[in-house]
């Protein structure tokens, strides 16, 4: 990329760089937040976590070769759960926790060939 093009790109992209992204409801009823340069939606039911992956334009990302780990704080206890691919763009895992209001989760997502990225979810607190 030539410096001139970089200059152009910076003018186009810079205004968006500072936009803060609030957590929002995802298409599967979970909470969708930014993770790295992508989006992820976390659905918590009982003792199961499901993580749906989307790119920055909300198109599904294939889950093949993706690893993820979730740290969960629910009911005053902390649990660490490994998530494994179970569908086209879904990772899932179960663990020793019970999804309840006030639950917090931090997901560390590693896409193939990329550096791990982290995001914080409060999947049961949205109204």
């Amino acid at each position: 990329m030539t410096p001139r093009r970089m200059l152009l790109a910076s003018f186009v992209l810079a205004p968006f760089a500072a936009v803060a992204h609030e957590p929002r409801r995802g298409p599967n009823g979970g909470q969708k937040v930014d993770i790295g340069s992508n989006h992820a939606e976390l659905v918590a039911e009982g003792n199961t976590l499901r993580l749906f992956l989307f790119d920055s334009a909300d198109r599904p990302i294939p889950a093949v070769g993706v690893t993820a780990q979730a740290v969960i704080l629910a009911g005053g206890r902390q649990a660490t759960i490994a998530l494994a691919p179970t569908g086209a763009n879904v990772l899932a895992g179960t663990g020793d926790f019970l999804a309840a209001r006030g639950m917090r989760a931090v997901v560390t997502l590693t896409l193939p060939g990329q550096r791990p990225a982290q995001a914080r979810f409060t999947p049961m607190d949205q109204n």
């Binding site: 410096p3 760089a17 340069s37 917090r104 931090v106 560390t108 990225a117 914080r120």
Partner: protein, 565 residues
């Protein structure tokens, strides 16, 4: 090079044009970075906590934990740290609400994903941060190693060549400007012995400079000592090129900074009036003499300033003074009355002796005459010998004394003022008579910041000096007030406006003179927001324009942030 400068300018200008572009699709980016010279840091917050992690020069991770909404430091919490999925234990407390962590996992350079599990009593939360640990032994604050310098020189030879060139230019300028011994202005005659030289030899040091050198060294040591002694990573607060202000957490703790979320509220429209404390006419009094005379003290002397007096208490006596002509007239009439009384008494005696032969009516007439003459004499006597007592018209404290014993006063001259300190009023002057047509509540503030609660008494119907006088009763907080003291009266009207209610100290003046509040969009960054404010009472203001609800606003310490350069 020009392209790079333009690139930098484009990035700096970005926040200014942000609102026009907020939308869904985007590239991910973070908040504007802290100054490049600051130590590596990362921050995260939830609705409960806010944590800032700073990597010190000694490779220790300093953690600063606060409440998110109020920025109140949280002391005694448990912070458990996970670095890249590996639990490295809890961070011990290092100071008040400061936790420090030392771990080999933090020595490896690169991007580290850190998760903090924070427990403070009942509150628990997870906070993830991403910290970029720079390469090199001592990260940001110490000098780079020799190998690194060499490699940088290899990568960027032009920069180094320019630096060396500037150094050489500097040395050359220094040499050219070095002081040289000037030729002597006065030719000194050689002394008889011929041993003294004409001037100092050029190589010899000037004696003053030799003496100053240790002093300069000592001064340098004093200046440098605190800089070297810091254990915590102390980054200086500074104003950033985009107008925001970077204040690191340790400095925020020193400033005692507190914030509060901006909540939309409703408050009544208030009007500022100037006023002054006056005495309640029903609980104060002015003592005046009713006639001209000489003043005399009562039994225990005149009352002193501040002395409490009861209603009806005698404060002094007025001895009337008369012109010589008047006095002579009164004396003459008394003498005449005395003569008439003697004659009348003799007549009564004579008639009484002849009781039976003289009519009883004559005897009783003579007696009535004598009684009338005696009463006329008694009425005339005080005019030359009597004195009039001066009594207090109301209870209270003596606030003005204008008498001295023996002083001759005119009629109606004020002698004492009596004020009841528990019953004072405030008189305010309103120039916009329509604005104060309805008064729902009022308060006043003295120049010293004392707040008085007022109750509305009434308003005049006649303008006085183009203003309408209003009277208020002071209901609470009247300690140490004096009659005549100027106060600012805040009158609340029934009209309501919507805005954000903040404490008055949250609003500060910027260098241009405008009113600003400081918003805290992230843990160590502050943005000045120009606002339009109305003051509600002595302590609170209403921000009507310039602030969005939900913004975190500095409520305590804003004036200190405004001074950061």
């Amino acid at each position: 090079m020009l392209i790079r400068i333009l690139l930098l300018l484009a990035l700096l200008a970005a926040p200014g044009i942000r609102p026009a572009f907020s939308h869904e699709g985007h590239s991910h980016g973070d908040e504007p970075a802290p100054p490049a010279a600051a130590a590596p840091r990362a921050e995260a917050h939830s609705d409960l906590f806010e944590i800032v992690a700073v990597l010190g020069a000694d490779r220790r991770l300093w953690l600063y934990l606060d409440r998110h909404a109020t920025s109140e430091p949280i002391d005694g919490a448990t912070v458990q740290v996970t670095v890249d999925g590996q639990d490295i234990g809890t961070a011990p407390r290092a100071g008040e609400a400061v936790y420090v962590l030392e771990n080999p996992a933090l020595d490896r350079p690169g991007q580290r994903n850190i998760v903090f599990t924070i427990t403070d009593g009942e509150d628990m939360d997870l906070l993830p941060v991403t910290l970029v640990i720079p390469a090199g032994v001592a990260a940001a604050t110490s000098a780079p190693g020799l190998a690194e310098v060499a490699s940088t020189a290899m990568r960027e030879p032009y920069v180094w060549a320019a630096g060396i060139f500037l150094l050489l230019v500097g040395v050359a300028v220094g040499r050219a400007a070095a002081p040289r011994p000037l030729p002597p202005l006065v030719v000194v005659e050689p002394s008889a012995t011929g041993t003294r030289p004409h001037a100092l030899p050029s190589g010899a040091p000037i004696p003053e400079r030799v003496a100053a050198a240790p002093a300069v060294m000592a001064l340098m040591a004093i200046v440098m000592a605190p800089v070297l002694a810091w254990a915590q990573p102390m980054d200086a607060p500074r104003r950033q090129p985009d107008g925001s202000i970077f204040v690191p957490k340790p400095s925020q703790r020193l400033l005692g900074l507190r914030t509060s979320p901006a909540e939309l509220g409703e408050a009544s429209v208030t009007i500022h009036l100037t006023g002054q404390v006056v005495a309640d006419p029903n609980a104060s009094g002015r003592v005046q003499a009713s006639e001209a005379g000489r003043i005399e003290p009562p039994e225990g002397g005149f009352p002193a300033l501040g002395q409490r007096v009861a209603r009806g208490e005698v404060l002094g006596f007025v001895v009337p003074i008369m012109a010589a002509q008047d006095r002579v007239g009164v004396r003459a009439s008394i003498a005449e009355l005395d003569a008439l009384i003697v004659i009348s008494e003799a007549r009564v005696r004579r008639l009484t002796a002849l009781t039976g032969t003289v009519a009883a009516r004559e005897i009783s007439d003579a007696r009535a005459d004598l009684e009338g003459l005696r009463q006329r004499r008694a009425a005339n006597l005080p005019a030359v010998t009597g004195r009039e007592p001066i009594v207090a018209p109301s209870a209270g404290l003596i606030s003005v004394v204008r008498v001295a014993a023996g002083q001759v006063i005119q009629a109606q001259e004020p002698l004492f003022d009596i004020v009841d300190p528990a019953r004072l009023w405030v008189e305010a002057i309103a120039f916009d008579t329509a604005a104060v047509a309805e008064v729902s509540a009022a308060s006043a503030m003295t120049a010293g910041g004392q707040v008085l609660r007022l109750g509305f008494v009434g308003r005049g119907m006649t303008l006085r000096q183009q203003g309408l006088p209003l009277h208020f009763r002071i209901e609470a907080g009247a300690r140490g007030l004096a009659v005549g003291q100027p106060v600012t009266v805040l009158v609340e009207t029934p009209r309501r406006t919507v805005g954000i209610v903040l404490p008055a100290e949250a609003v500060v003046r910027n260098p241009e003179g405008g009113q600003v509040v400081y918003e805290m969009p992230s843990a160590e960054r502050f943005l000045p927001r120009p606002v339009r404010v109305q003051s509600l009472d002595g302590q609170r203001v209403l921000v009507t324009v310039g602030l969005e609800r939900g913004a975190r606003v500095v409520t305590s310490g804003a004036a200190l942030i405004a001074q950061v350069r």
